[in-house]
Symmetry: C2
Subunit: 409 residues, 2 copies
């Protein structure tokens, strides 16, 4: 089940010159399942990534950080599902490094040129033999127009593959952008989502890549939540292959930088929202917009309190306008000097609460009408400033419990 | 459904000299339901309370704070279920005050001598006419041995009434302690639980009462959570009627003060734990003990991260030792300098993780055995200090979703 989420449109998944992708079934956890993906990047690309802030970050996340920091040119990525290689201690690091070395060996690269990614069950040993055995088949599959298979290859509890793309002109040159993501549970990205990868053939200096990756994550993956559980493996990597026929972008504030970032953010937001639309058990897609805060940070804090409240989420599942639960969540969001008399609440166009109390004009049937929709905007006005922020989430249904009570079995 | 929770033992519910309780059916939201309780307190009692930190605190919570701060001797409490009188703005305050005045009028008291408490649906108008109409019947029912009816009278989604008592000797005088609580959902007390009331005939100076109430709440209600939703109405009130035949206790550090506090804390913990055992949809009672922290606060922070994780809670519901989810929650608890290599994890006596990785001696069937129990202790050793703290919670089941998706219908 997913909320208004379609399978990717192949015509929109533009090949990115300088990026080839291969996918195979390596039998990592289950047979007959695409579970191993290699991404081959031509020499000369600019690459950066942002990673989970979870202190129990997985071994591959640690290795990614080290390889990106080493200054080596990143030439390949190796992504497996079925096993997260998290909570695996020193042995997990050794195994992640060994898979990098195995792929590097076949490509005549150094292990530092490879970024490893794992997603799946936590605290089980990564089956490196199966990964190594699958490399040749994945490499044989590598081609530029393989983004859809890659999106399928990184799915775990996802029900729909997630891939979007766009094109724009920069200084007369056609630029392509394509990205994929995965994730449905353990979703409350903190710097990035479970897994997200974007590539463009635009020309972007390496010096700018970290800023670009961070700002894209801030505006997309860092504003979604399914269950509030920040994953051990969140990773978001952005690749610019520098193949397009325009001058290298050296500032995101230049017209070219702004245009590229806007186009990439559009794709990143679609990828991030797709994770919420495919949230485990989700039946509704909910945007929570908090206005009138003193700072954007406090707006986001209030939005996340609402988005994480099991009571709010079950009310959405039931289409029950039990909206006092939203006010309660605003109240415990941790804004210590918040005055309830300054607060208004809207559900789409319906004005539910005025100055902290029920709007005398509010009618239950109006709330009911909006709650029955599959897409709902909650708007909270804090009445204490001009800041605004938005977070996207989903409801909490029986299927969430079923999926997570049965995940390993 | 509740976890190893029995109906109160009437023999243990000691009448407290100086406190009489009356309960009636006032039809506040539904007919044929005990929903209105009056507590009459003899002159000369010491009374204090602690209340929710939710900024959207309900009107009666605001009034309670004001009446306690006014220095008037508290002589009565008025408790209704069916309506929380929260999210009701200025009109909610007016209505709460009017019910205080109505009861005060009948008792020849001032309205400031009355504490009002409401619990139930948020953002609906308090039906004061029904409350006023029920007062005579409630007052006619008032007697000292009425604690069980009081526990029943404050229930909402609770499936079992919650009441405990004990007795102790202080300087040769027999002292009785009895308390009641209610709550099952919207439970993550921050200062106090949904509703908790304790009375003793011990002699305690008014100057000491706030410290006593705060320390009791800290050691009991402030360590439980069901769904992480801090209520708008959390209230915990402690009454000492000063009727027992011992000298007034002026310090909690005196032998008499320590003995009284220990006995009262025992009752308060049972009341708090009963709320978790009766947590909406709960099938398991889980103690989360975090050791080896630098501070007690960081231990509690980690314990709550585990206790609030929907993924951890659904794994307990499924009896699935998917214990990497616990490590992930430790990782995102917000301890920014936490080193995963210092962390050990135990499930009861089973040593699951060593230094951040799976214990080589850990066997899945051992984890499975513990997970099937109805009472489980999760023990996390942070390895960075000597502090310890414990939080009590329950699992997240289908019934939680059912109860909260259907609550108002």
């Amino acid at each position: 089940m997913s909320v208004n989420l379609s399978a990717p449109n192949p015509a929109e998944l533009y090949p990115v010159s300088g990026v080839r992708i291969g996918v195979t079934e390596a039998g990592i956890r289950k047979a007959n399942r695409k579970d191993l993906t290699v991404v081959l990047i031509d020499k000369g690309a600019s690459v950066s990534g942002v990673f989970t802030q979870n202190r129990f970050c997985a071994a591959p996340v640690q290795i990614c950080r080290e390889h990106l920091a080493s200054g080596a040119g990143i030439r390949a990525m190796l992504i497996n599902t079925g096993n997260a290689n998290a909570g695996t201690g020193q042995d997990g690091r050794t195994r992640a490094l060994r898979t990098c070395a195995a792929l590097a060996d076949k490509l005549k690269l150094s292990p530092q040129d490879v970024l490893p990614f794992s997603t799946g069950v936590i605290m089980e040993s990564l089956p490196i033999e199966r990964i190594e055995a699958g490399l040749d088949s994945a490499l044989a599959d590598a081609r530029e127009d393989n983004w859809l298979r890659a999106a399928e290859g990184i799915m775990t509890t996802d029900t729909v593959a997630k891939a979007y793309g766009t094109q724009l002109m920069i200084d007369g040159a056609l630029v392509s952008i394509t990205g994929i993501s995965k994730g449905a549970g353990m979703i409350r990205p903190n710097m990035a989502t479970m897994l997200g990868f974007m590539a463009t053939d635009a020309c972007v200096s390496q010096a700018l890549m970290h800023q670009l990756a961070t700002e894209l994550a801030e505006g997309s993956f860092n504003r979604v939540t399914v269950d509030g559980d920040t994953s051990t493996n969140d990773s978001f990597v952005v690749i610019a292959t520098n193949k397009a026929a325009h001058a290298t972008i050296a500032s995101l504030d230049s017209p070219q930088g702004q245009a590229l970032k806007a186009a990439m953010l559009d794709v990143a937001q679609k990828l991030a929202q797709a994770i919420v639309r495919d949230g485990e058990g989700a039946t509704k897609f909910i945007a929570i917009r908090v206005e009138g805060g003193k700072t954007q940070a406090e707006c986001r804090q209030v939005a996340y309190a609402i988005a994480h409240s099991p009571l709010v989420k079950t009310a959405f599942f039931a289409s029950d306008p039990n909206l006092g639960r939203i006010l309660a969540a605003v109240g415990y969001a941790g804004i210590s000097d918040l005055e309830q008399t300054g607060i208004d609440l809207y559900l789409d166009d319906v004005h539910v609460a005025v100055q902290g109390g029920r709007n005398p004009l509010y009618r239950e049937e109006d709330g009911q009408r909006v709650m029955k929709q599959s897409e709902i905007t909650v708007r909270v006005v804090l009445g204490r400033g001009d800041a605004v922020d938005t977070v996207w989430t989903c409801d909490l249904s029986h299927d969430y419990v079923t999926i997570n009570a049965d995940y390993r079995s």
